[in-house]
Symmetry: C2
Subunit: 222 residues, 2 copies
């Protein structure tokens, strides 16, 4: 009775759940797999199949209760309790992440922020003090931090990853475009913006065959 859950399913569950939160805010009571599918850009069967891997949440002939389904998915994603997150690196990207409201809404609580810029250390973001890197292990441990986010330059990413692991995190979300070496039990996800752009370049050319239009000098320019 042990089903393997495809990662693609988990990704979609996260998307469904955000859509359901939205419906709930709008006081919509029931929804069908067809409506979910349409708004989320997948097929209705896909939606039902995904749900079915975790249980039976709907009523045949009727659909799904929005509140109930939403709650079930949050439970599945373990977002029914909060998570302690450490953010390392407060450049532009780190700042964007630190101020992103979506995390807190979904129980992902940034409990510590680290940077090595003396001008930033000691200041606060959302009541969290920015600390120097040499406090990382200690603080991450104390906070029982489960997830570390790495948004430092590539050359420091591995070093930071090691510190996070030493501090006891279970999972790392890495924004640096490097391949990190981690103990197998640590969960890792990489978000790589360049890779995503390059997939687009590949796909775009496919459409137009081999033709590629060169671009002009920008219209508005220095």
């Amino acid at each position: 009775m042990k089903v393997k859950i495809p990662e693609a399913t988990i990704m979609r569950m996260s998307v469904y759940s955000r859509f359901l939160a939205d419906l709930d805010r709008k006081d919509i009571i029931m929804i069908s797999s067809f409506d979910i599918a349409e708004r989320v850009g997948v097929s209705p069967v896909q939606v039902r199949k995904d749900f079915s891997l975790f249980g039976e949440f709907g009523k045949r002939g009727v659909g799904y209760n929005v509140k109930e389904l939403h709650w079930q998915i949050l439970k599945i994603l373990s977002l029914d309790a909060s998570w302690s997150v450490a953010l390392v690196g407060l450049g532009n990207l780190g700042s964007a992440l630190s101020s992103y409201k979506g995390f807190h809404e979904r129980g992902l609580i940034i409990t510590s922020i680290f940077d090595n810029n003396p001008g930033k250390i000691g200041t606060f973001i959302n009541n969290v003090e920015i600390l120097p890197m040499d406090k990382l292990v200690e603080v991450v441990k104390y906070n029982q931090t489960q997830i570390g986010i790495i948004s430092v330059p590539s050359e420091y990413a591995q070093e930071i990853a090691n510190l996070l692991v030493e501090g006891g995190v279970q999972a790392i979300l890495n924004f640096a475009p490097v391949v990190l070496n981690l103990p197998r039990e640590i969960k890792l996800r990489n978000v790589d913006v360049t890779v995503n752009l390059e997939i687009l370049t590949f796909n775009s050319v496919k459409i137009f065959g081999e033709i590629k239009r060169p671009h002009n000098e920008p219209l508005f320019f220095a």
Copy 2:
């Protein structure tokens, strides 16, 4: 003789190519699929299989010439010529993207930047003037922009996407956590940070069964 290329392959090609650029900078001449595999975190067969979808780039018994292979992959990804990219939304995330050097290195040229903040309009980033949104269609057209990057708040993302399409882009990279509705011929990729974090929460719990440790008050706190 028309092979379908898995998207996963394209992603890996992008990663291989960055690794090869690195090797080339270090004046390494030859490399084997084993060494590539190890450093990139996949299996050697995977590497060879990926390459084989596009041609034969290696010498049996010897390996691959770094320069040659690198160049071939850049050609495959259409990164042997430059791309005109428009960046819309200059919040923290947009700023991070605008200052990311990896793009330019790989022929992804940000030719225009748009924001609606009057304090930012008229200033320059890397010689590109920040323009108001109402110039978007015109400028994107003029620059023959192929790719648009959306880093505006979710509620404006669809509207901006429409303008980009009107301006003639072929592909959109969307950072707003919403499902965009686009003409089928427009290539779309979504980068969704929350989804990635939530996959980590799911995976972490799986490891520890149902046990989840609550977190303390932060050690360093306001």
